[in-house]
């Protein structure tokens, strides 16, 4: 049977990006690993949502036990390869390294994790076998990190897994949405395929639940369901001129150049609306793709920006500018966007009367959030959706027996590592449910 997944195009605009944290050689990794203090009950381990035993995997690099090092990582987080690249380590493990308190550079945990996991992929090391067949079958909606982590854990426990993905690509945002200076699309696909290597996980691409298969049919065919839908489309601003060509949602734009080639040769000025991490990713990407003037427009102050300060700092180094305390009230142009009208806001984010101004813009990226698509399952009896996210208990169980959720659709949009942790936790809860031990 032919692989139903469409292979990625070779010629993609994201190829222009180089890694902002390049791979370590073994010599570099050993030097860095040797520096690790090997803390007891280490804070880095607690700071990781998947609780990777960081001191142990680093010690193994130092002792040239790379195979064991990667095993320590994957045992906690099967998506350790992508997390090593995309995790905001500065605010998680690296941010909690005790060397910070010594006024000493913290251990580069992400780069060490990348070293070990890349080695495992390159060497073809495989660690896991599916558990004895239980005869139970679980459907997973969406082929992103949460579902992949969940499916893998289910296979370890002997349950069959079927991933239903409406797109042709697998890997979810790891394939279509990660800033390419962190990771490119092929790595997302590669990781997904590596996870599927455990065997017994069927992926059905081009299948949308509710359209191609009904919920009733789903419940008939499967013993449990995991919802790993992620988030919906970019949120619109709802201002005049938003429909003009050149005004586009950030996530949609990122996907365009990650999966294909885009022509920005005519773009002189780009505005990025928003102050979160997607906005910051867009800033760096727009600059790297060659747009001369890149300006972020955020309604709050620099200090109040929800995006990571270290990412903004790195973007500024690359010549990014910002309009703080401003918001677009209209986009204008002949046949395509040419200008944005910005309204200055006060400290309470209220418009200051008369304080509007116009700036040039031939590309506008809206990075003010993504629709929360919990409502896709919100109509089901027993599944509560609050503020667009699926409500579950601590283990991912919804109010509908056999239905679990994890990842962005549950947490409202966090990191890959959160999705990995939630997917795995849900699998453990599903396993208990299937064995009749569920607290539900």
């Amino acid at each position: 049977m032919a692989d139903p997944r469409s292979p990625l195009k070779i010629d993609r605009s994201e190829s222009a990006f180089t890694d902002y944290k390049p791979a370590y050689t073994q010599a570099q990794a050993v030097v860095e690993a040797t520096r690790c203090l090997y803390c007891a009950d280490a804070p880095c381990m607690h700071a990781c949502p998947t609780h990777i035993d960081v001191p142990q995997f680093i010690r193994k690099i130092a002792s040239h036990n790379d195979k064991g090092s990667a095993r320590t990582i994957f045992d906690a987080n099967i998506l350790g390869m992508s997390c090593s690249r995309v995790c905001p380590v500065e605010t998680l493990c690296v941010g909690s390294c005790v060397y910070n308190h010594l006024g000493h550079p913290p251990i580069q945990i992400g780069r060490l994790q990348r070293y070990a996991t890349d080695k495992a992929y390159a060497e073809g090391w495989r660690y896991y076998q599916a558990g004895p067949d239980t005869g139970k079958k679980v459907a997973l909606i969406g082929a992103g990190p949460a579902s992949l982590a969940c499916a893998h854990e289910l296979r370890l426990r002997g349950h069959a897994a079927v991933i239903l993905e409406k797109r042709q690509e697998i890997g979810g945002l790891n394939t279509t949405g990660v800033a390419p200076h962190k990771m490119k699309a092929d790595q997302g696909v590669k990781e997904a395929e590596w996870v599927l290597g455990i065997g017994g996980i069927e992926v059905r691409n081009g299948v949308e639940v509710g359209k191609d298969i009904s919920v009733a049919e789903l419940e008939k065919q499967f013993d449990a369901v995991f919802v790993g839908l992620g988030l919906g489309p970019d949120t619109p601003l709802k201002v005049p001129g938003e429909q003009l060509p050149g005004v586009i949602g950030a996530v949609a734009w990122i996907e365009q150049f990650k999966l294909g080639k885009i022509d920005l040769s005519q773009v002189r000025s780009c505005l990025i609306i928003g102050g979160g991490n997607t906005a910051l990713d867009c800033v760096r990407e727009a600059i790297t793709l060659g747009i001369p003037n890149v300006t972020m427009v955020y309604r709050g102050t620099e200090q109040g920006m929800p995006g990571y300060a270290h990412e903004w700092k790195a973007a500024q180094v690359k010549s990014a500018k910002a309009e703080w305390q401003a918001v677009p009230v209209a986009f204008e142009g002949e046949g395509k966007v040419q200008r944005a009208v910005l309204q200055r806001l006060d400290a309470a984010k209220k418009p200051i009367a008369g304080a509007t101004f116009s700036v040039e813009a031939d590309l506008v990226l809206l990075a003010i959030g993504q629709a929360r698509i919990g409502d896709l399952v919100g109509g089901l009896e027993g599944i509560a959706v609050e503020r667009g996210v699926v409500v579950t208990d601590a283990h991912g169980a919804t109010g509908r027996p056999g239905w679990y959720a994890g990842g962005d659709c549950r947490n409202g949009g966090k990191e890959v590592v959160n999705a990995a942790a939630e997917g795995k936790a849900a699998a453990i809860a599903i396993d208990a449910y299937l064995q009749g031990n569920s607290p539900n």
């Binding site: 040797t34 203090l37 803390c39 009950d41 280490a42 804070p43 005790v98 010594l102």
Partner: protein, 435 residues
């Protein structure tokens, strides 16, 4: 300003730092560069019947990322013709009359000893060092440590050397280089003293296998598919060297000057050797790893140290710590310290917690609270159970974060011997956890 001028057993040098007999003193060209760099003396690569060496020769022991923290070699004595070596000794002495050039010697028969001593004197050596220490290759031929391990042979050959030194240049100092491959160094130092030696040098290298190639199943250093035991040296051997040095220095029957050797890497190590009785200090491995240039810091650091402590000359320092080296039975059992953690300095690594829990007396505990906040990660010492072992302080990566503080327990000092023979009262044992 401290005066570093050194007189060790009658061998004078501008400072106490000598290069030990080894690859860094293989040739005149090297030694001239070493003297230019600041070394005060050099003990020439051991002279004897030139040998053929193997390839490879050295093995390194990497500890915690420090390459060559331990080091071993299976190289033998000089492989260069004797006339070349003696000609170069004469050249070096001509250019560096104030620096010490010591001829290290190793031959077998009395006649050979007379010949080589005569030639050393002719070349202008400032002293002789008899190599009774080499633990590999030469000992199988009845030389090196084979001599150093037999006090009677040591004494006899020392007396021959002294006799011919006196014959060819009266007063020429003779040092005996001792092997550490013995259970007690003292009888060997005394044998050299009885043989008439002017001083001893210690330690030579320790018999060792530095590592094993775990893919080939062959020890290192590998010669084809075989290896052999070698001599261990480098920073890792310093504690063994200090003990042997001090054992001899504190023995009331032994009264010769000592040239200290074994794991000296910097001025601090050198100071420790001098405080435990060395008059000069010899260095090899650290120079092999880092080059002659390390002596600049050694001189500079030693001068600053001496100035800060008020020592005007090396002699004032020699053996200063010897009176404070005693038998275990003479230590005060009622002296009590406990660990104190400076909460402001603590970075929360909890290495002290795991070390105390698994390796000591289970008296350092984590606090309740966040496992990621520095303040709640500062451990707590249960002083009632702390035995004052130092382990926490040793593993702590933060300078001066853990201090060992004396506790007044109300007990008068009492040693084990005083307890045993005079009935002095001892404090209660700690670390019992109520047992």
């Amino acid at each position: 300003m401290a005066n570093l001028w050194t007189n060790c057993a009658g061998i004078q040098s501008p400072n106490p730092f000598w290069l030990a007999s080894a690859p860094p003193t293989n040739s005149g060209e090297q030694i001239q560069r070493a003297f230019d760099a600041g070394w005060g003396g050099a003990v020439w690569k051991t002279l004897g019947q030139p040998i053929q060496n193997v390839s490879s020769r050295f093995g390194g022991h990497t500890i915690g990322g420090v390459r060559g923290a331990g080091f071993n070699n299976i190289e033998l004595i000089t492989d260069r013709p004797l006339d070349v070596n003696f000609r170069e000794i004469a050249e070096v002495k001509k250019k560096f009359p104030k620096h010490a050039v010591i001829a290290s010697l190793m031959v077998e028969t009395e006649q050979e000893w007379e010949d080589i001593i005569c030639r050393s004197v002719d070349a202008g050596a400032d002293g002789l060092e008899l190599n009774f220490g080499c633990p590999h290759g030469m000992c199988e031929r009845g030389m090196g440590s084979a001599v150093g391990q037999e006090p009677l042979v040591n004494e006899r050959i020392t007396s021959w050397a002294k006799k011919y030194a006196e014959k060819y240049r009266p007063g020429l100092p003779v040092l005996i280089k001792l092997t550490p491959n013995v259970s007690d160094i003292v009888p060997h130092g005394l044998a050299a003293q009885r043989g008439g030696a002017d001083g001893v040098s210690l330690i030579n290298t320790i018999k060792s296998i530095v590592s094993v190639d775990i893919d080939r199943f062959v020890p290192e250093p590998r010669v084809g598919n075989l290896s052999t035991n070698g001599g261990y040296c480098g920073a890792a051997v310093k504690p063994i060297a200090l003990h042997m040095l001090a054992s001899l220095a504190r023995d009331p029957r032994f009264n010769l000057p000592i040239s200290g050797i074994g794991g000296v890497t910097n001025w601090r190590d050198a100071v420790e050797f001098i405080l435990l009785g060395a008059t000069s200090v010899q260095v090899c491995t650290e120079v092999m790893l880092k080059g002659y240039r390390i002596v600049e810091d050694m001189i500079d650091g030693l001068e600053s140290y001496m100035d800060s402590k008020g020592f005007a000359t090396i002699d004032q320092m020699v053996g200063k710590a010897i009176p404070n080296y005693e038998h275990w039975g003479d230590l005060d059992l009622n002296y009590e310290i406990v660990a104190k953690i400076d909460a402001d300095k603590c970075i929360g690594c909890q290495l002290c917690v795991v070390a105390c829990m698994d390796g000591a007396h289970q008296c350092i505990h984590p606090q309740e609270g966040s496992a990621t906040e520095r303040t709640t990660r500062v451990p707590r010492v249960d002083e009632a159970e702390c035995v004052g072992c130092n382990l926490c302080k040793i593993v702590c990566p933060v300078p001066d974060c853990i201090s060992m503080v004396q506790v007044d327990n109300g007990f008068a000092p009492a040693t084990w011997n005083e307890h045993l023979y005079q009935g002095k009262q001892l404090r209660h044992r700690k670390g019992s956890h109520g047992w």
